[in-house]
Amino acid sequence: MDIMQMSLSAAVLIIAIVVIRALAIHRLPKKTFLVLWSVALCRLLIPFSIPSRLSIYTFINWFGVSFKEEAANTSPTIAYTPYIFEPIPAGAAHMPPVLIIWLIGTAACALFFIVTYIRCCREFQTSLPVNNDFITAWLQEHRMMRSIRIRQSDKIVSPLTYGIWHPTVLLPKTMDCTDETTLRYVLTHEFEHIRRFDTLYKLLLAAAFCIHWFNPLVWVMYILANRDIELSCDEATVRTFGETAKSTYALMLIGLEEKKGKQSPFCTNFSKNAIEERIVSIMKISKKASIFTIITALAVVAGVSTAFATSALSEASDRMQSASISGNQGEIQVDGAAYHFTINDDVITVKDADGKIVSTATADSEGTAVLKDADDKQIGKVTLEPSGGVSVVAGAGDSADIPNDFTEIGGSVSTSGNQGEIQVDGAVYRFTIDDDVITVKDANGKIVSTATADSEGNAILKDADDKQICKVTLGASGEISVVAP
C-alpha cells in the first residue's frame, strides 16, 4: 500500500467517524470517538491492512458500484519511469514531481511542529515550582509510575501538561492557587491526560498530519481528535466528582477561558478547543454510562473498524492491485501475490516473490507485453515506448481476455508424435512439444512464440502478433489433442 492508498482509505473512515460523531457525540461515551480516531490513526500510519469479508470494499466490489474507482485501493495503479536499460547508477533521482512535492510538504509540516515543540519545551523549562500544601497533598494522593511535577509559569494562560515520561503540569500564574475547588478540577483533568498518555497521542496525530498533509480530511481529523481528547477528559473529571459537579466545572472552564491566549499545538491544553462544544457536552453528561450505551459504543467501534478500516477480501482482491517500476525493474501486486519483473531489451521476465521465474513475455511491435503468472493468467501489462519510457499497469486489463472461441478461425491441424502443423488464415505454423513447453515456428522456421501447458495440460499457441492460433491439450498418457478450426 502506498501513502495515497492509505490516505484515501483513511479518508473514507474519517468521513464515517465524523458522521457518527455529529449524530451521537452526546449519546456515546467520549472514549468511543478516541478509539475510532485511533483506528483511523493506525490506518494512516501503518502501511498494510487486514482483509475482511465484512469490509465496505468487499461490498462495493460485489455490487460493482462505480464508486470503486475513487475508493482507494480498488483502481489499478500506474507507475511511470524513464526507461533505462543500463543499470541505473546508485542514487540517481528519478522521483516523480508528485513525490517531490509530497516530501517538501511533509518536511515543512514536520519542521513547523518540531520548531514549535522545541520552543515550547525551552520556555516551559523556565517554569517555577509551586509551594502549596494542597498541591503537595494532592500529589501524595495521586501517585503513579511516572513522577509528576506541578509547576507554575507566567508565560501561559491556561493549565497544560507536557512530557510523556516525566510529565509536568503547568499552571498559569493568573490561576489562584488557593482556590482549592478549581485546583482540584484542573489537576484531575490534567491527571487524566497523563494517565492516558495524551501527549503521545497528540504526537501521533501530528505525525499523521505531517505525512497526510495533502488530505483535508486528515486536517479535520486532527482538529476533531484534539477536541475529543479534551471532551473525554472532561467526562472523566465530571464522573470523578459526580454529576452535581457539572455546572461548577463548566463555570470554572468559562472562567479559565476568559484568560485564554496563544497556545502550543503539542500540549494537552485544558481549555483549548471549541469551548461551546465542551460546555454543552459537559452539561449533557448523563449520570452513568448505562450498559446499553456501552454495548452501543462497542458495536459502533467494532462495526466501523471492520467495515471501513479493513480491505476487501477474495472476490474483491483481484481489484487490489498495484504496480511500480524503477529503471528496468518493477513490481506488480495482484490478488495478494507479489511479482517482480525485469526488462531486458524487449523480453520481460516475471518472477514470483520467491524469485522463481513464472513466465516470460515479449513486447509486440507496438511495445506492449502482457505479463502472466504461472497459470497463464494476466497479471499486468508493460508498454515500452519508443521514447524510452516504460509504463506498467497491474491487473487483468480489458483487452487481455483471450477469446476461447475457436470456431471462427478457419484452418486445419495435424499432429504426428511431438510435432504438429496448423494452417490458419493461409498461414502455416509448425509446433514442437518438448515436455510441456510448446514452440511455435512459422513457415520459414523462425520461432514466433512459445507456450507452456498449464496444470491441466492446456496451452494456447499464438502467432507473432500475439493472436491466438489454437489450443493444444497434452493428455496425461502422452496423447496430444489440438482444438482448432
Binding site: 523549562q125 523556565t126 517555577l128 508565560k155
Partner: protein, 119 residues
C-alpha cells in the same frame, strides 16, 4: 526606562539582589537547588536579562551585576497592580489589604495610620 521582567527572570534577579555580584555558574548552582533548573535554562534566562538591560556581564568568570535595584521592580509591580486591579487608586489597594484576614491587628493599625498620613 521600563524593564518588564517575567517571573523566571525575576528569580535570577532575586539571587543577585540577595547575594550581590555573582558568577553565572554560581547562579546556576543556586537555582538548580532552589527551583530545579538545568544549566542551559539558567544561562538562557541570564542572557535574556542582559538583553533587557537588567544585568551587566563582567569578566572574568561571567560575573553578573544587577543594573536595577529591587525597589525599582517592586515599585513598578505595585503601580501595575494598582492600575490593573484597583483602577489606579492606591486607596482601593489599601482597602483590600485591610480586609485581608491574614493580617494581624497590629499590621492593620499600622496601615490605617499610613492611609491617614498619606491623605
Amino acid at each position: 526606562m521600563e524593564i518588564k521582567l517575567f517571573d523566571s527572570e525575576l528569580k535570577i534577579m532575586d539571587v543577585l539582589w540577595k547575594e550581590g555580584d555573582t558568577t553565572a555558574k554560581r547562579i546556576s548552582d543556586i537555582l538548580k537547588e532552589q527551583v530545579g533548573w538545568n544549566m542551559n535554562t539558567t544561562y538562557t534566562l541570564i542572557k535574556r536579562c542582559i538583553g533587557k538591560g537588567a544585568i551587566e556581564r563582567r569578566e572574568p568568570n561571567f560575573l553578573c551585576h544587577a543594573l536595577i535595584p529591587k525597589e525599582q521592580v517592586q515599585e513598578r509591580e505595585t503601580t501595575e497592580l494598582i492600575n490593573k486591579v484597583f483602577d489606579g487608586s492606591a486607596d482601593l489597594l489599601f482597602a483590600s489589604l485591610l480586609n485581608r484576614k491574614n493580617l494581624s491587628s497590629e499590621e492593620i493599625e499600622k496601615l490605617k495610620q499610613l492611609v491617614n498620613h498619606l491623605e
